[in-house]
């Protein structure tokens, strides 16, 4: 496995995915709408006198991003299924890892777009200062973790009957820990605590990310090879 080839092919797969997505136009719009709707539900569903915004914001943030991400994750392999192109990818003289990495990169860009849309909206609707650099780092680390596992699982669930239901059921147990750490860190940061109190959670997130990205790259071939 030569690194430059691996990355180059991964980028070819990723850019192809993004181009297809751009031409489809539906996915990003539906998810953006979904984000706004969820935030509205949160707004009308809460009692502003009972819990302060700063206390509630981490939960709102993470629930919104989690569910939007799961909607997005299904599409990665759906594209190959619709166009019956997966065999073509497997026939090509590229490392299987390139396919996974390409899908991962495309998914990350997609979910990042959702977060870029969602964060300012959360800041606006709930009047919390979320546009902080350390917070962005926390969000990025947690996102990498669950998108890495989600991309791997979606390769398996895409051909099953209740794919949209099965993927969240399989994925959520793996999201709980990074979400817990991220939510704790988010809460601390929103309350204005310094970065030093948060770096333990950041370390945990980083370790989790490394373990599961490596694991996913190693396990991905088993999901497509016969």
């Amino acid at each position: 496995m030569r690194s430059p080839d691996l990355l180059r092919h991964a980028w070819a797969v990723a850019s192809k995915d993004l181009l297809v997505e751009l031409r489809s136009r539906t996915a990003i719009l539906s998810v953006a709408t979904f984000v706004v709707l969820v935030l509205m539900v949160f707004n009308f569903g809460r009692d502003p006198t009972a819990v302060s915004n700063v206390d509630l914001a981490p939960s709102i943030l993470w629930v919104t991003f989690t569910f939007a991400a799961i909607l997005a994750l299904n599409r990665a392999f759906q594209i190959e299924l619709e166009n019956q192109a997966l065999d073509g990818l497997l026939l090509a003289p590229i490392d299987r890892g390139s396919i996974y990495l390409g899908k991962l990169i495309a998914n990350l860009i997609f979910v990042a777009t959702i977060e870029v849309i969602g964060l300012p909206l959360i800041a606006l609707f709930f009047n919390v200062r979320v546009l902080l650099a350390p917070l962005v780092l926390v969000i990025a680390l947690a996102t990498v973790g669950f998108v890495a596992v989600g991309t791997l699982f979606s390769a398996m669930t895409v051909r099953t009957r209740f794919a949209e239901l099965l993927l969240p059921v399989l994925l959520l147990p793996f999201m709980i820990l990074p979400l817990r750490w991220a939510a704790l860190a988010t809460g601390l940061l929103l309350a204005g605590r310094p970065l030093s109190e948060v770096h333990g959670w950041l370390n945990m997130l980083a370790v989790y990310d490394v373990v599961f990205v490596v694991l996913a790259i190693l396990l991905f071939p088993a999901t497509v090879n016969e």
Binding site: F153, M156, T160, L166, V169, L170, P173, F174, L177
Partner: protein
């Protein structure tokens, strides 16, 4: 057939031993000072919890070996271990509240250990659901192996998290660095119970494995 019968026998023995242990636990082992009679559930709850987690490790190991060797027996063992692990999780999740209610005053709390046993349970359920959703046996075994390995790798993170969160849960007194803090007769009862649960694990897995083996054979012949 043979495996099934051996499994039955082992389970029967284990059941008898369990009854014996409870007799010992209730009649001969001292009542714990602060928790009272409810603490007796500890002999059931903790060994079940240990095996619930260990079963997941076995699922993961069997999955790793399956991916290298493609031997269907390893896949069948992984599936059996997962089913037994699910049952043990269910035992922990039901005995936990029964133990906790008299002491904590509430049936459920989002205490770290209970929460994570719940997640272990969800990991198992996800594994079984995935197996159910894939009709092709080759793909099913491969996908289950992938999920099983991910589940096994999740367990250390779950374990670590338990030590990081403040909890109502009693801190580990047996599996902790240093000597176990239990007085003699309690420790013996606990060890006996652990032995019984080990027998249960082996017995149930053998039974489950035997059944799926039989099913494979009838399908091949029929």
């Amino acid at each position: 057939m043979k495996l099934l019968r051996v499994g039955h026998v082992i389970n029967l023995i284990a059941l008898l031993l369990l009854a014996g242990i409870y007799l010992r636990a209730l009649a001969y082992t001292p009542v714990e000072a602060s928790q009272g009679l409810a603490q007796k559930i500890f002999y059931l709850h903790v060994p079940a919890a240990i095996w619930a987690e260990t079963a997941m490790i076995f699922v993961g190991l069997a999955s790793v070996f399956y991916l290298f060797t493609k031997d269907p027996r390893l896949d069948r063992f992984a599936a059996s271990s997962a089913e037994v692990g699910t049952i043990f999780c269910a035992i922990v999740l039901t005995t936990g509240p029964i133990w906790g209610k008299p002491i904590w005053g509430t049936w459920w709390s989002w205490d770290a250990r209970l929460t994570f046993t719940l997640f272990l349970f969800l990991l198992y359920v996800g594994y079984l659901l995935l197996r159910n959703a894939v009709p092709d046996p080759g793909a099913r075994a491969r996908f289950a192996a992938v999920l099983g390995i991910c589940g096994m790798c999740e367990v250390p993170f779950i374990h670590l998290s338990v030590y990081m969160f403040p909890t109502l849960h009693p801190m580990p007194i047996v599996l902790q660095p240093g000597r176990p803090k239990l007085p003699g007769s309690m420790l013996t009862t606990w060890l006996l119970s652990l032995g019984v649960f080990t027998l249960f694990y082996v017995g149930f897995v053998l039974q489950r494995y035997g059944i799926s083996d039989l099913r494979e054979q009838t399908e091949a012949n029929g």
